[in-house]
């Protein structure tokens, strides 16, 4: 799993890679959690707050963006940051999963307004890994 943050004039551009769709989706959640609070997911385990998410979408790109949007909304509603995912079902059009995180009552470092579809394109790269860019509206 790889997570890289790339330059963007006003927002945050993140590139994620994974050897499976599960890894790619997990990278998205982890990368977003570490934006909300710098390094949060790297040092605050175990993540005991568990919530279920179920979604369908047209394709794997919309599914990933819609899933991350749902995780983000849940973060704000629960004042929590999510870092891990347990998958019950993941296809290119459907996800049933449980997200694991921890409450963060101190507030977040960054306000992500939204996970956008702009530049998102989930596909396999030359190494046969899944990858995509994600632009967060800040």
């Amino acid at each position: 799993m790889k997570i890289r943050y790339l330059p963007h004039t006003a927002d945050i551009r993140m590139k994620i890679e994974g050897s499976s769709l599960e890894e790619l989706f997990t990278a998205g959640v982890l990368g977003m959690g570490n934006i909300l609070r710098d390094g949060f997911c790297d040092k605050n385990g175990p993540f005991m707050l568990k919530l279920k998410i179920e979604l369908t979408a047209h394709d794997e790109t919309c599914l990933l963006i819609d899933f991350l949007s749902e995780v983000l909304s849940t973060s704000y509603a629960e004042k929590a940051i999510f870092c891990e995912v347990k998958f019950f079902e993941l296809t290119t059009k459907k996800i049933r999963a449980e997200i694991h995180g921890r409450q963060q009552t101190q507030g977040f470092d960054e306000e992500i307004k939204a996970v956008t579809y702009h530049e998102a394109d989930v596909q396999k790269n030359n190494n046969r890994d899944w990858e995509t860019l994600i632009i967060f509206d800040i």
Binding site: A10, H58, S73, Y76, K79, A114, I135
Partner: protein
């Protein structure tokens, strides 16, 4: 797709055009309002590619437009205007943005800067204490389900009714702080949940409360009508609809992406997702957007109440109350009447990072502003300056009655953080008489003046092009941010 300078034609001073023939799916030309140096700067990111994409929206009229403060966004460029024909032209949530009715307002005082200079540091700390800022922190008001629906329906009026605002303020807000088409039942439970405790909060990023003084007056008559005078202390507030608005946009972009095939619409970028304005999905989004816009006006009114409390706490209960000069949105869609193909027609004007700038005679303006035009408030970057302008009739001819909304970002947040030593910047600003209260040094570095274009150049361009007149320059003395 790469856009070269040779693809851009100069139409007149400060107006540039990428013709409709540039790409087959363009329905109208793409136009840039900028001086040549600003145009060159704009070409450094992907703003113009995004502008060309906007020119392909169904029902778009005139031209897709960007202001001189434009920068690359995600889908629509930030600093853009797109007008589509009412009632069946497209409405696109991306053309408004996730922060629905992000906007600015200016409060005026009867104090001169020289008289309060020794209390500025205390004022900065009191404002930071009174106005909740930063991410994930709630405000003082917790809305019940019924109260939330009232806020979404009534906007700033709700704050006035509940004692968090001044009745006089309502006349001094765009649309009087309330859009009539709001329907709270079309706002999701998640959006309402996110908004429950965020009234009266500014959030983080580029949002702020700032104390300024009037450093220069350019148009005495207009300044007098707006209640502005040299050396006067004023307060600038910049924020929007917070998590509630972000969620409304997220919910409806997702729905509209799914609905587009039903209308045979294809767009070059999913963030341009759109449906006909008069479709069920289009109307649902518009009514939810109006509700979120009302939340934002209520939010800025409650923040003004907090600022007024801080002001009184420092200067005493007998101090003259702060008056609202004006409140304008810069992320919104409105149905307005403009000249289209030689005749007056109703259009849906999308403004994303653009300010309405109507000229003299506009019916909605308070009596005292009718002869001089609508105030346009342009915040600059922290530590530089901001401007008050007045809209003109020329803006109706050139930009669907719109103007720029700020300085416009130049550097990425990462680049700004690499180049700026925030503790040093804070000290340097203090030495210059500017007190900064922020939740983090990271926030200061990301919003440092170096990260932005020169607001003076941006404002000079809109002024020289005739779409707005320079009225006053403001210089900051206190900056409060998340």
């Amino acid at each position: 797709m790469k856009i070269k300078k040779a693809d851009i034609h100069k139409i007149e001073d400060f107006l540039w055009e990428i013709p409709k023939a540039f790409r087959p799916n363009m329905r109208v030309p793409a136009r840039v309002l900028a001086s040549e140096p600003l145009l060159d700067a704009i070409m450094e990111d992907r703003s113009l590619v995004q502008l060309v994409n906007v020119a392909s929206l169904p029902g778009i009229k005139g031209a897709s437009l960007v202001m001189p403060d434009v920068h690359e966004g995600y889908g629509f460029p930030i600093g853009g205007v797109a007008a589509t024909l009412h009632p069946d032209g497209a409405i696109s949530p991306g053309g408004i943005g996730y922060d629905i009715n992000c906007g600015v307002r200016l409060l005026t005082s009867d104090q001169k800067i020289a008289d309060i200079k020794d209390k500025l540091e205390m004022l900065s700390k009191e404002m930071y204490a009174q106005v909740p800022s930063g991410m994930g922190k709630g405000g003082q008001i917790k809305l019940s389900t019924q109260e939330m629906d009232e806020v979404l329906l009534k906007g700033a009026e709700w704050a006035v009714e509940k004692g968090y605002g001044e009745k006089r303020d309502l006349a001094f807000m765009e649309s009087n702080g309330r859009l009539e088409n709001a329907d709270p039942s079309l706002v999701s439970d998640m959006a309402k949940k996110r908004g429950t405790d965020q009234l009266g909060t500014i959030g983080s990023g580029n949002h702020f409360v700032e104390v300024d003084y009037v450093a220069e007056i350019y148009e005495e008559t207009i300044a007098e009508a707006f209640g502005l005078s040299k050396d006067q202390v004023v307060i600038l507030i910049h924020t929007g609809s917070r998590g509630l608005g972000h969620q409304v946009a997220t919910d409806y972009i997702r729905q509209i992406i799914s609905a587009m095939p039903n209308y045979g619409i294809e767009v070059p970028d999913r963030e341009l997702a759109c449906v006909p304005f008069n479709s069920k999905e289009g109307q649902n989004y518009f009514k939810a957007m109006c509700a979120a816009a009302n939340y934002a006006w209520c939010n800025r009114e409650v923040i003004s109440w907090e600022v007024r409390n801080a002001w009184r706490n420092i200067f005493g209960p007998t101090i003259e109350p702060l008056k609202l000069m004006y409140d304008v949105a810069h992320n919104i869609a409105k149905v307005e009447t403009h000249l289209v193909d030689g005749k007056q027609a109703q259009v849906i004007v999308h403004r994303k990072g653009a300010t309405r700038a109507f000229g003299p005679g506009f019916e909605e303006l308070p009596e005292s502003y009718k002869s001089v035009g609508q105030p346009v408030i342009i915040p600059g970057s922290m530590g530089t300056c901001s401007y008050v302008l007045a809209g003109t009739t020329r803006s109706k001819e050139l930009t669907f009655g719109s103007c720029c909304h700020g300085a416009g970002r130049r550097l990425s947040r990462t680049a700004a953080k690499k180049q700026v030593n925030a503790p040093v910047l804070k000290e340097n600003l203090k030495e210059k008489g500017i007190f900064v209260e922020a939740g983090s040094f990271k926030g200061i570095a990301e919003e440092a003046p170096i990260a932005y274009k020169d607001v003076n150049m941006v404002v000079q361009t809109v002024s020289d092009s005739g779409i707005a007149r320079k009225v006053a320059k403001l210089r900051p003395v206190v900056v409060v941010k998340g």
